[in-house]
């Protein structure tokens, strides 16, 4: 009984349940939308299935975040190694510059270059996601205390063991915070990416805005909101797991 209760009060579980209900059960809410917006001929967005839109949305935001993690992580690791130290300045400058562009602007700029479709969206999202990840990877690796590094080297860890066993686990909470920022931004920006021709949950929102159909807007927006809640709770869970060794987290 108490297990069921703790499951139901868990933000992650609850978020997932609400998300699944919204994605799969949106057609069942049609009468509700019809009653709320009696002036509308079509109170339910039916051009695409919400499940397909959600999966495409996740593929775009998740794919871009994953690529950004791999590239950004690698770049962050490289500039904190002896061989890459000289590129640190360039990377910092690029990161600072990139951070001043809002994601919508990145998207708008990438269309003339890359055309319409999911490809420019993926690239724009990846580029924007790179910045917080690179910055946090560098900050996280640099936060590893020098005595810890010296102890690791002094006991005979090679550069690989030092990185994988000591530096990355210690930097992980900071890196994760960067990934979280990137993922949250990407989740939102992926909706806007519908304007450049990517099929995402932004599509009902944009169609609804263009056609003065607030029901469409709400249908797209609540699923994005539910996704954001699940993502946030998931990152909380992961962060707690990665910082178990820290003072005051247990």
């Amino acid at each position: 009984m108490s297990r069921l209760r703790s499951l139901l009060t868990d933000r992650l579980v609850l978020g997932l349940l609400v998300l699944a209900a919204l994605v799969l059960g949106m057609p069942a809410l049609k009468p509700l939308f019809a009653a709320a917006f009696p002036a509308l001929d079509r109170p339910l967005y039916e051009a695409d299935g919400f499940l397909a839109l959600t999966l495409d949305h996740l593929a775009l935001a998740g794919g871009a975040s994953l690529i950004a993690v791999l590239l950004g992580g690698a770049a962050g690791i490289a500039v904190t190694r002896p061989f890459g130290r000289e590129f640190r300045g360039i990377l910092d400058a690029v990161a600072a510059m990139g951070q001043t562009f809002p994601p919508v602007a990145v998207l708008a700029v990438s269309v003339p270059v890359l055309g319409f479709g999911p490809a420019p969206a993926l690239i724009a999202l990846t580029l924007y996601g790179l910045l917080p990840i690179v910055e946090n990877t560098v900050a996280g690796l640099e936060s590893v205390p020098e005595p810890v590094r010296e102890a690791a080297r002094g006991m005979g860890m090679g550069p690989g063991a030092l990185l994988w066993r000591v530096e990355l686990p210690l930097a992980a909470p900071v890196i994760l915070a960067g990934v979280r920022t990137a993922a949250v931004v990407n989740l939102g920006t992926a909706a806007i990416a519908s304007t450049v021709g990517a099929k995402t949950l932004g599509l009902p929102i944009i169609v609804g805005l263009n056609g003065s159909n607030p029901a469409y807007v709400i249908q797209g927006a609540v699923i994005v909101a539910a996704l954001a809640v699940v993502l946030d709770a998931g990152f909380d869970r992961l962060a707690a797991r990665l910082t178990r060794w820290r003072p005051g987290t247990d």
């Binding site: 205390p145 005595p147 810890v148 590094r149 010296e150 102890a151 690791a152 080297r153 002094g154 006991m155 005979g156 860890m157 090679g158 063991a161 000591v166 686990p169 210690l170 060794w245 820290r246 003072p247």
Partner: protein, 312 residues
């Protein structure tokens, strides 16, 4: 065991170690002492190649360490760094097991070794093996640091001010444990400190450094009775020099065998300093002395205690 031959290390314009020649014999407890910035840590870090010398040769068991793979060399040496440097994301058990894990010891053997070391350093194994470093007191962290360095039974133990920043009682206890471990394992120890009392208590030989140069090298008694210059004299302290000298000799060395005296007997292994304290406390100039088993072995006279050390 370890030999420095004309070793020099510069940081920019600053010469941290200046053509240093120094040997550490196998099984020796060698203490490096000197004021802050005198190059003690730099000397230690050159022994395990964390720092490369600009000139000179360092040999370990006759081999030039510049020819050895740093990782291999380091896994043969335990290293306790000045700032402890425990891995905060690992439990006490995993911290201690770090080098055995790198060496690929079987799990069961690692576990047994961790238990053994925690017990040796007076940390209850069941209570502390799963703890994270931040859950330990400073003294407990330093114990774990020592245990970690001892874990893979190294031939050489490098210790950089391992007991600094501890209260005198904990410090004394850890010194006694360290002396016991050295006696039991026969490991060669190179121990850095800037505390002369600690050096005198632990060392079989002391090397005094100043501005990267070797000022004097010798046994604690040599350093006390025959300081090379004023810098060494300052280090041993001018006011309590006498007490320090008494602290490095045992009662057994000044004993009159066969005689008896009234009162609670003193252990033959006690220092002359402890003997003097006992005489003052009891208001007597003669103390009975007993061996480890409590059998009377003779007496100690104040006059013998005051006489200079036997240098035969």
């Amino acid at each position: 065991m370890i030999a420095f031959e004309g070793v020099t290390k510069r940081f920019g314009a600053w010469t941290a170690v200046d053509s240093l020649s120094l040997t550490v014999a196998a099984g020796e407890f060698r203490v490096l002492i000197g004021p802050s910035g005198s190059g003690k840590s730099t000397v230690l870090r050159m022994m395990n190649r964390l720092i490369a010398p600009d000139a000179g040769t360092i040999r370990v068991e006759g081999e030039d360490i510049a020819r050895l793979k740093p990782e291999t060399l380091r896994r043969r040496m335990g290293y306790v760094i000045q700032n402890i440097g425990l891995f905060p994301h690992w439990t006490v058990e995993r911290n201690i097991a770090a080098v055995p894990d790198l060496l690929g010891w079987p799990k069961a053997r690692v576990r047994d070794r961790v238990t053994e070391l925690l017990a040796l350093l007076n940390l209850d194994p069941e209570r502390y093996r799963g703890a994270y470093p931040h859950e330990l007191s400073g003294g407990q962290q330093q114990r774990v640091g020592v245990a970690r360095a001892l874990a893979a039974e190294p031939q050489i133990l490098l210790m950089d001010e391992p007991f600094s920043a501890l209260d005198p009682i904990t410090r004394g206890a850890l010194q006694a444990e360290m002396a016991g471990i050295h006696k039991a394992t026969g490991t060669t120890v190179v121990f850095v400190t800037h505390d002369m009392d600690e050096a005198l208590a632990l060392a079989s030989r002391i090397a005094v450094l100043d501005r990267g140069r070797l000022v004097q090298s010798g046994t604690p008694l040599d350093i006390l009775t025959d300081p090379a210059d004023d810098r060494v004299r300052d280090l041993v302290g001018r006011e309590d020099w006498g007490l320090k000298r008494l602290a490095v000799e045992t009662v057994a060395e000044r004993l009159r065998p066969g005689e008896t005296a009234p009162g609670e007997p003193l252990a033959a292994g006690a220092s002359l300093r402890q003997a003097l304290a006992a005489m003052v406390a009891r208001g007597t100039d003669r103390l009975p002395v007993a061996d480890g088993q409590g059998r009377p072995v003779g007496t100690l006279h104040l006059a013998d205690l005051l006489r200079g050390p036997d240098r035969s």
